[in-house]
């Protein structure tokens, strides 16, 4: 089986040196460690927003970065979805348009909007589809950001501390939602957090980071979920 993501990169920024290598399979893999450990930098390298000094990145069997051969596939061509810490929704567009813009698998505005609507329903955000992001609460914004990250049929979804700007009650609520939606979608995910409880609750695998290095890897014991069937209603109940 092809790994969803293979990373082996180095990157020097001032005094800080990132030198990591890990593999991600299906489910949610959590990059866990203290602030400044290089977790978000790793996500930026995977997304193609920055270039490593050396190494390779392979997403779903496709080499997207290979420094030795000067290969750097653009962010747009990587088929990734990304959920940022504070959502980063486009403030001049409606919630529906924000999600519809990310839809790559459908052509034409009505088709893209239909896909966007279905994703907004899945994250419980259909009620504010026509509102602007500025009028939403932090939790609502992150629901929309999650829908946007998954709406483009990505090969991999990256979540950069998606809950860190929220209060604890909303965090708990969204934690369940994130896990439920990502697992039911079948899209492998890499999530960054410095919160141990969050790493435990969300991750199938926890990859520990410290000072720019991977210091450990642990599989989290979880109930077995059914494989998502194309066209069938998604179930999130463990078997």
């Amino acid at each position: 089986m092809t790994a969803a993501l293979e990373v082996a990169v180095t990157r020097q920024i001032g005094e800080f040196e990132l030198d990591v290598a890990f593999t991600v399979e299906s489910g949610i893999s959590v990059l866990f460690g203290p602030s400044g450990a290089g977790k978000s930098l790793t996500l930026a390298l995977i997304a193609g927003l920055m270039r490593p000094d050396s190494g390779t990145i392979v997403i779903n069997g496709e080499v997207v970065t290979d420094c030795e051969h000067r290969l750097h596939v653009s962010t747009q061509a990587r088929r990734i979805g990304m959920v940022f810490q504070d959502g980063l929704l486009l403030p001049h567009r409606s919630v529906l348009d924000n999600v519809a813009l990310a839809v790559r698998q459908a052509s034409g505005r009505p088709a893209r909007r239909a896909v966007a609507r279905s994703w907004l329903e899945r994250v419980g955000a259909e009620g504010f589809a026509h509102r602007r992001p500025g009028s939403l609460s932090g939790g609502q914004r992150q629901r929309v950001a999650l829908a946007r990250g998954l709406a483009g049929d990505p090969a991999l979804v990256l979540l950069d501390e998606p809950l860190s700007a929220l209060d604890s009650a909303v965090r708990r609520e969204l934690r369940n939602l994130i896990r439920e939606v990502i697992i039911s979608s079948g899209v492998p995910a890499v999530l960054v957090t410095h919160d141990a409880e969050e790493a435990e609750d969300l991750g199938d695998v926890v990859i520990a980071y410290n000072d720019g290095r991977v210091t450990g890897r642990r599989v989290v014991a979880r109930p077995v979920y059914p494989e998502p069937q194309p066209g069938a209603p998604q179930s999130t109940e463990p078997t």
């Binding site: 997304a47 927003l49 653009s74 962010t75 747009q76 061509a77 088929r79 990734i80 979805g81 990304m82 940022f84 980063l88 929704l89 486009l90 403030p91 001049h92 567009r93 813009l101 990310a102 790559r104 602007r132 500025g134 946007r148 483009g152 990256l158």
Partner: protein
């Protein structure tokens, strides 16, 4: 002011254009009416209408050309990473600093069929570009361009680059990121630049005089006509029209600038 904000937030794109047209017309009407009351006569329309309409024929295309070129070059200056970027901006900004007569002189050198360069340009274009309305439009465009360019650059640089990065992770190609993210988010600054550029085109004098020639009925714009009629009663009408047009247009644009983000 609160009421003005409410209006700006509720009206759509077409209504906004209508507001601008109406405010300019109101300015014109006020100018004409007040001048009439002050001078006690309404015999100025024939004198004023020609220069006024010519000014609009010059300022509108000049603003469109300067705006388009200004936004494009502002984008390149804001986003491009190449040597000589600052030199290019300085060159583009020269019309702000140079006396209009100097600009007029160089424009004559470049456009006049009697000069080497101008002769070549005239042959290429197939049309004489001085002492006619084209010369006036070129002079007004050059005058308006730096305001549009500088405002666009500043506004585009002010857009959060993280939002552009987020758009790229959504698969949008760079040109769509520019059209759907960068330019919409910098529209207020760009609109301010276009407003000042348009005002500059409306009031252009020195270069227009040299390149256009102040020919009555052909190249005599409102600002040239004001000087020509300085000793006659018509000047009151023209002065008031310009002042009140400027005030009402700026009020209208200011009102529209408060539209929601």
């Amino acid at each position: 002011m609160k009421r003005a904000r409410t209006i700006a937030q509720t009206i759509g794109g077409r209504q906004k254009t209508a507001v601008i047209v109406v405010t300019v017309l109101v300015g014109f009407g006020l100018g004409f009416g007040v001048a009439h009351l002050m001078a006690g006569s309404i015999a100025y329309w024939g004198v004023v209408s020609g220069p006024l309409l010519l000014t609009l024929r010059v300022a509108i295309p000049a603003t469109v050309i300067a705006g388009t070129a200004g936004i494009a070059s502002g984008y390149v200056l804001a986003k491009g990473r190449f040597p000589g970027r600052d030199v290019l901006e300085t060159l583009g900004s020269l019309p702000i600093i140079l006396p209009p007569t100097v600009i007029g002189f160089y424009l004559l050198e470049v456009l006049s069929p009697g000069t080497q360069v101008g002769g070549f340009v005239t042959r290429v274009v197939g049309h004489v570009l001085v002492y006619n309305v084209f010369g006036c439009i070129i002079a007004a465009t050059i005058a308006a361009f730096p305001f549009c360019m500088r405002a666009a650059r500043t506004a585009i640089e002010g857009v959060d680059p993280l939002l552009e990065q987020a758009a790229r992770t959504m698969g949008l190609p760079n040109w769509l990121v520019a059209l759907r993210v960068t330019l919409p988010l910098s529209r207020r600054g760009i609109a301010a630049g276009l407003t000042i550029g348009c005002a500059r085109a409306l009031g252009e004098y020195g270069a227009t005089l040299m390149v256009g020639g102040d020919i009555s009925g052909k190249t005599r714009t409102l600002s040239l006509a004001i000087l020509d009629s300085f000793t006659t009663p018509e000047r009151n009408t023209m002065l008031l029209i310009l002042v009140l047009m400027a005030i009402t247009a700026m009020t209208g644009v200011g009102l529209l600038g408060r539209s929601r983000t």
